[in-house]
């Protein structure tokens, strides 16, 4: 019997680590990975809450799991476009350090 708060607290800790990664790392690929970590933390909270509200017959409340399904699809789309952008920036500027990518000119 694990209290649902433990899962939500773990989700909050993972989310904070992801936010810290976005703030301190200079490599855009690692910033993307931190965003994935934050999405994952949100998913964990969704599933934990969905499990804690049971509908009839001991089945969990499925809306939480279905939202996680949609979040996974959106994350896949986001990664495809984001990595394509990073590759294109690298081809144009030969450098992907985000400190030097502060202008929108090509």
């Amino acid at each position: 019997m694990v209290p649902v708060n433990y899962y939500v607290a773990l989700s909050a800790i993972l989310f904070s680590i992801g936010a810290l990664g976005v703030l301190i790392r200079r490599n855009p690929l690692i910033i993307f990975m931190s965003i994935e970590l934050m999405l994952n933390a949100g998913n964990l909270a969704f599933v934990a809450f969905g499990r804690s509200y049971e509908i009839a017959g001991g089945q969990p409340f499925f809306s939480g799991q279905i939202f996680v399904f949609f979040v996974i699809a959106v994350a896949a789309a986001e990664v495809a476009v984001g990595l394509a952008l990073i590759v294109e920036i690298f081809k144009t500027r030969k450098n992907i350090n985000i400190d030097e990518l502060n202008s929108l000119k090509g």
């Binding site: 970590l37 599933v47 990595l83």
Partner: protein, 174 residues
């Protein structure tokens, strides 16, 4: 202290330390591998929470497809180690302080507003079975049919966008 709590604590220790390892690795390839470990740990949490379909999609989509894409791009660009550059001197300490505040206040809120009657027991055999999957599919394709179709359009748009972004223009010299 029952066995569920022990399993939870061990798994959360793995999850948090692999997340920290992802963030502090100098080499981006190691970061990606730590993140794969973290995703697999979260997939085990989904199994404990009685969501087998989500756990399997987590492993195939996140740990499989997305992280392979990341590794391809890291190795393609040679971006394992970026040269350190001049950045704002106060930015890192401020980021650590703000992240620490975020952890403390969110965990404090979660613990202090505890619903003491909400417990998650370990899943019975019926929860990780085909019945569970059938019920979830019924919910997905009845109640959430329109969002499902919109998601498929979103994936199509993302695919076309990625192809257009990386396509060489005709006559362009690279």
């Amino acid at each position: 202290m029952n066995s569920d709590i022990v399993v939870f604590l061990v798994l959360s220790l793995i999850a948090i330390s692999s997340a920290l390892g992802m963030m502090f690795s100098r080499n981006a390839v190691y970061s990606a591998l730590f993140l794969v470990l973290n995703f697999i740990t979260v997939a085990v949490f989904y199994l404990l929470l009685g969501a087998p379909f989500i756990a399997m999609s987590q492993i195939t989509v996140y740990a499989g497809a997305i992280m392979v894409l990341f590794l391809f791009v890291i190795m393609l660009l040679g971006a394992e180690n970026l040269a350190p550059s001049k950045s704002l001197p106060w930015q890192k300490p401020l980021a650590y302080i703000l992240a620490f505040v975020l952890v403390v206040e969110s965990v404090y809120l979660v613990i202090s507003r505890a619903q003491v009657d909400k417990f998650i027991s370990s899943p019975e055999a019926s929860l990780n079975s085909m019945d569970n999957l059938r019920e979830m599919a019924m919910t997905l394709f009845n109640q959430y049919l329109l969002p499902f179709e919109i998601t498929s359009i979103l994936l199509l748009v993302a695919m076309v966008g990625a192809i257009v972004l990386t396509k060489q223009e005709k006559g362009e010299q690279k």
